[in-house]
Structure formats: C-alpha cells, structure tokens
C-alpha cells in the first residue's frame, strides 16, 4: 500500500507529535506545526491521535494513490482536489486506487494535514517519524518529500461499499459528518504570558508589545516566525547565559525583532524572552501567513491554564463524537 509524490509542494514533511526525551542532546521536539489539525485528521481516520501524517505547507503538492485508502485532510492553507473535484476538509474520505490529489492555492492559512486510516508505514528515528530536515532526522531519509517518493501506508481496505453514511462524488466518497476546527482559530489576537526576561524590557517596549500590531514577516519556517514591527530595545541588556527554550517562546533579537519559536525550535537559546504564547493559540499562529497582522494580549498563568483545560474538554468531546460516528460506519 502506498502513494507516490508527483509534485512535492512547497515544503511537505512527515510529522507526528514529535521527538521527546532527546532535548538534552540538543535534538528539537519537532512535530506538526498545527498539532490540533494533525490530531483531528488522525481521529477522523480512526487512528491514534499521534500517528504520523503528511504536513503540507500551502499548495502545489500532487499525489497519486497506488491503492485505495480512507484518508482525511484537516488544517488550512490549500484547497484539495481529488480527481479534479473539490474535496472537503475535516471529513473521512475514501479514495480509489489510481486517484490523483492536488493541493491548490487558497486565500488563508498555511498548513494542511493528510492522515491515512491505518497510519503511515515509516521507520521511527528516536521514537518519532517527525522530519527535522536541518539534521536529517526522521521522515524519509530526514528530508522533505520530493517528487517520485513512494510513501508506504498500513491500511488494507479495498472498497467503500461496506461503509454507510457516505456521499459519492465522481472521484471519491466522503462522510456526511464533519468536524470543523475553525472556531479555535478565528481569533488573531494571540494571548501571551510574560516571559522570563519581560522585566528587562523598557516600559515603552512592554506597552508597544502589548498594544501595537505586529506582522508575520516573510522569514518564517518550522523553527520560528520572525515578526516585523520593531521593539526599540535601546537599553543595554545584560549578556544572557544560554538556557532551554521551547515552542511558543517569543525571543527578541539584539536588533529588536521578535521571533516566535515554533515546532522545530532549538533546545537552548540566549536571546531575552519577552513572552510566551498561550499553547492553545499556537495552532492559529502556525496557520498565519506572512503579512498577517497579529496583536498580543496579556493573560495570567491562571487564564492560560483555563484555556488549556477548556481546549482539552473540547478535544475530548470531539474525540468521543468521532468515535460514535465511526462506530456507525
């Protein structure tokens, strides 16, 4: 069972929840940029939520399925066509053998995820299939996907005729039920908690950070999003001794540019950390394209905790309703 990459797209990688337990060796966690969408895609497919998926950055990817499969596509950043017909996101899809999937441009978002029922058949490196291209870890030989790559998967179904509640299109079938996740990403105000070095910044910079808009610059990748919109940062800062950093931390360069660390964040760093993003806002942030305006809003540690609890409850609900839908397949 496999599909073939006809066109790689801008940056397509295999990701799961990431690599844990190796940061003491300087190995980043990696994993999906928008873990909520990756997990949703897996649950819809009946997989364990942390199974490996394909992460597509924006559009331009083209795949060819050599065998039939149940799949689902979640996230944002592209419109997907299966055999030239628009395919809905957040649903269970059945694709026949010899189907072609194309990722076409869309107006919003950045990362979409394709999960396959049964999961990818990829060897784990350090307990994870996540690709970290700078050190060539995980994925297929540590690289982003490229044309003519063959991606093996584990499922072994032959037809959708046995499933109920599916709608047939010319090119594929899709489930009548769907699980939109958009409600969790409509807000472009990003909640933050004061960072360890917050007090090293001037009152002016603190105020500017909390009230003025910042724009996602064109310097964005899986390691970090650089924002345009400068902090003055004029006061002489003491030289910091490097210590651990992680996803969500907003560090400020010596030139005053904020960088938000993302999934491939280095394990240690020495820039002053003005803030950290509330983890429930990270998926929306990851889905922000260059040019998108972001405003930061300060919240307390308690509020952040409440947001996390609320998200977890919501996720548990989604999980159990997906289970009950899947039981009726």
């Amino acid at each position: 069972m496999s599909f073939t990459i006809i066109k790689s797209g801008i940056h397509s990688t295999i990701q799961d929840r990431g690599r844990y337990g190796f940061q003491k060796y300087g190995v980043p966690i990696s994993g999906a940029m928008d873990p909520a969408s990756a997990q949703l895609a897996n649950l819809i497919c009946g997989n364990e939520e942390h199974e490996g998926v394909i992460e597509f950055m924006l559009h331009d990817a083209k795949l060819f399925f050599n065998e039939p499969a149940f799949i689902s596509i979640c996230g944002s950043g592209a419109h997907v066509e299966i055999n030239n017909e628009a395919a809905p996101f957040n649903r269970l899809l059945f694709v026949e053998a010899f189907s072609t999937l194309i990722w076409k441009p869309s107006a919003i978002g950045c990362y979409s995820y394709m999960a396959i029922s049964g999961g990818l058949n990829i060897q784990k490196i350090m307990n994870s299939v996540s690709t970290f291209t700078p050190s060539r870890l995980g994925g297929l030989k540590g690289e982003a996907l490229k044309s003519s790559d063959l991606i093996p998967f584990k499922s072994s179904i032959s037809s959708a005729s046995t499933v109920k509640n599916f709608t047939k299109k010319n090119g594929f079938f899709f489930s009548k039920w769907s699980f939109p996740i958009e409600e969790y990403r409509s807000n472009i105000s990003i909640q933050f908690i004061k960072g360890p070095e917050w007090s090293l910044f001037s009152k002016d910079d603190q105020l500017r950070f909390s009230t003025e808009p910042f724009t996602v610059s064109s310097e964005v990748n899986r390691m970090g999003y650089r924002l345009s919109g400068q902090l003055q940062h004029t006061e002489k800062k003491p030289e910091l001794i490097s210590s651990a950093v992680t996803k969500g931390i907003i560090q400020v360069t010596h030139e005053g540019q904020p960088i938000i660390l993302m999934a491939d964040a280095q394990t240690t760093g020495g820039y002053p950390r003005i803030a950290r993003v509330c983890p429930t806002d990270l998926p929306a942030l990851a889905q922000s394209r260059p040019g998108r305006t972001i405003r930061f809003k300060e919240i307390s540690e308690d509020q952040s905790k409440q947001n996390i609890d609320q998200y977890m409850n919501w996720f548990q609900q989604i999980k159990s309703s997906i289970h009950s839908y899947r039981n009726n397949l």
């Binding site: 003491k24 300087g26 190995v27 908690i193 210590s243 931390i249 240690t268």
Partner: protein
C-alpha cells in the same frame, strides 16, 4: 548555598537557575539535579535539559513553579562534592591537529601569540566538563578552556564547518557534530562520529560527562576511516 531561582518557560516546563555564571561548580549542581531526576523521575516527568547554569524540567502535564519546588527540594539542600564526581564518564577523544584540518590555526597562533605546539599541549592537557549539548543536535559545549587559549568568536561566522571539527571560542571548546555554519575557531578534527541518530544513545557523551583530547597524527586520522 544560594537557592536557585525558578521560572516557567512553558505551561509544562520550569527552569531551575543556579548562580548567574558559567563555571564548573555551578554546572555540576545542574548535572547532579539532572541525574537525580533521571534516576528518580516524578510521574509526569518527560525530560530535563541541562544548560550552563540551569536545568529545565519538562512535564507531560501542567507544571507550576510551586510543584517544581517540591520536586527539587530534596536534592538542592545537599552540597556539591567537587571531589566525588563519580557518575560521569571520562572520554578520550582523538584529535588530529594537522593544519589540513585545523583551518584557523594561523589566526589563533597570531592572536594568542603562541606556537601551535603550545596550543595543542594546552588544549590536550585539560579535562573538560560537557556543560551542555545544544545549538544543534550533538554539539557539546566543553569547559573550561585554559586562560591562555581564550579567544573571541569570529566576527563573521564561517558558512561551512565540517563535521568533527574541534574548535575554540571564549572560555570554551566544542566539536561540530555535523557540517554547519559556525563562529568558533577550528584547530583540529576528530575522526569520531559524535552524533548518530541511529544509535542509542545518539550522542557519544552525556551532558555532565568529561572529555580529554588526545593528539593523533594525520596518518592515524586517515586510518580511522
């Protein structure tokens, strides 16, 4: 002893910061706490990340500063026994100091006003602590360098430093695990692959281990591969 300072870097990660300086004693406090957690983890413990003067503890659930305080309390009261540092391994790492590999030797000799023989002798006669592994996977920060070898980083980083390069900067020395850009001065190269993701563990050294370099000739370097 000064009590460490605790702060959060994520909802599930707390950094325990010891004194505000880079030295062997502070780093050993970090490593003692790191080993204590590895040996005796709390239920939600994922990992801890040692740095020069701090240890960051990651949990699979929320981790508050107060909770973390209760986890570290049993360990931080004890004084570090500087003479009884038994749990670390001492690794002898062969290094070829031939100018073929030590690209920056000329600059280093001129800046430090020392002949290369003296630099090699000083670099190989010291036992270094692995203060932390970071920057890129597998890069060990080693210290403390003999005072005579202290040299500022390059003004402009080199775009390509080959894997295995042994370099110095500031009070530290390090080994480049893979080919990457870097700002340290390369004085030699080890034939040993110090980072291999297919091996368990992936690194030749653990943070907190010790390293001593052993000079080898160009011909024995070539015989390694």
């Amino acid at each position: 002893m000064q009590l460490p300072k605790l702060y959060s870097i994520a909802y599930n990660a707390v950094t325990v910061e010891f004194s505000q300086e880079i030295n062997v004693e502070t780093n050993r406090r970090v490593m003692d706490l790191h080993r204590a957690f590895e040996k005796n983890p709390f239920k939600e413990y994922i990992e801890s990340v040692p740095a020069f003067n701090s240890l960051t503890i990651y949990s699979s659930a929320s981790l508050s500063i107060e909770t973390c305080k209760t986890y570290i309390e049993p360990y931080i009261e004890n004084k570090v026994d500087m003479d009884n540092h038994v749990e670390c391994k001492l690794h002898t790492i062969p290094v070829c100091y031939d100018p073929t590999w030590g690209f920056d030797q000329e600059f280093v000799c001129t800046t430090l006003q020392l002949p290369i023989e003296k630099i090699i002798q000083l670099h190989t006669s010291t036992v270094y602590d692995v203060f932390m592994i970071g920057f890129v996977p597998g890069f060990p920060y080693l210290g403390i360098l003999p005072k005579e070898l202290e040299i500022p980083r390059k003004q402009k980083p080199s775009l390509r430093i080959p894997a295995g390069s042994v370099a110095i900067a500031g009070k530290q020395t390090g080994i480049y695990p893979t080919e990457i850009p870097g700002g340290w001065h390369v004085i030699g190269r080890t034939p040993i692959q110090i980072f291999d993701p297919n091996k368990n563990p992936c690194c030749t050294f653990e943070p907190g281990d010790q390293i001593q370099f052993e000079p080898i000739s160009l011909s024995s370097f070539n015989a390694y591969t």
